[in-house]
């Protein structure tokens, strides 16, 4: 058994629990970022350096920035009231699920079919050759996300009357000229 891998996976689960149970949202978001960083190390150790770099830069970096920005924009005086029972019952459910998980995964592990190995000699050849059509989907998803955000932050254009009212309000209600 690879002991370093086990330690990393325990850290991964630990940061996930912290992200779920921290009351402070900022701390929860930072725990999620640390979790991504640990996952990147796990991926790197499993011969997947490109996925690790993406995980570290995009998920640990960009998504954390998005979360922190949202938390800053939605700063509120009263926190959302959460029940306390989920925190107390969590260890019990985790142990129960862990036992079921162990049994199911043992069955799956014995049924993993033999692979054919990497079809291409490099990752670049795989991504730009065999999986090149994925890039079209990725571009579509990126544009979908961009236009989705733009549509959600769209504001009603000001009418002529609105502009006059805004001008009046700026001058304290009186025209200066």
């Amino acid at each position: 058994m690879d002991i370093i891998n086990l330690i990393l996976l325990i850290m991964l689960a630990g940061f996930a629990c912290l992200a779920v149970f921290f009351k402070d949202l900022l701390r929860a978001a930072l725990s999620l970022a640390f979790m991504s960083a640990v996952l990147a190390v796990v991926l790197y150790r499993m011969d997947s350096p490109y996925a690790a770099v993406f995980e570290l830069s995009v998920v640990a970096g960009l998504i954390t920035v998005l979360f922190v920005s949202t938390i800053a924009l939605t700063k509120t005086e009263e926190a959302v009231k959460e029940s306390r029972w989920p925190m107390y019952l969590f260890p019990l459910f985790l142990v129960l699920f862990g036992i079921i998980d162990l049994l199911v995964m043992k069955g799956l592990f014995s049924n993993i079919p033999a692979g054919y190995g990497n079809a291409e000699k490099s990752f670049g050849a795989t991504l730009w050759g065999i999986r090149s059509m994925d890039l079209i989907g990725q571009i579509a998803v990126i544009f979908g996300g961009v236009f989705g955000v733009l549509a959600l932050f769209r504001e009603k254009p000001l009418t002529a009357q609105d502009k006059i009212d805004a001008e009046k309000a700026k001058d304290g209600g009186h025209k200066l000229w």
């Binding site: 891998n5 796990v42 490109y50 995009v58 989705g148």
Partner: protein, 99 residues
Amino acid sequence: MVMINLIFVGLLFFIGLYCLLTSRNMIKLLIGLEIMAKSAVLSFITAGYARGETFFSQSLVITFIVIEVSIVAVALALVINAYKNTGNLDIRSLTKLKG
């Protein structure tokens, strides 16, 4: 290594699902979703590693990460809009929306 990873895939999925089922804060719900997404990433890479097809699984993971970022960006924009309307981050307040 593969067996231990598969067990932790299940555990991470459970932690994310537990967060989704028990939390009321919209940002916390997204954090739960992210944890589940990470378990999926670990699952893809573990499967690729077990079968010796790491290039293929990495290209899938990169596509998945791009989709994940788009989903999170749109979902956080929705959270900000919901906050502007309701003044809080409680998911239950969204049931009172009309129109």
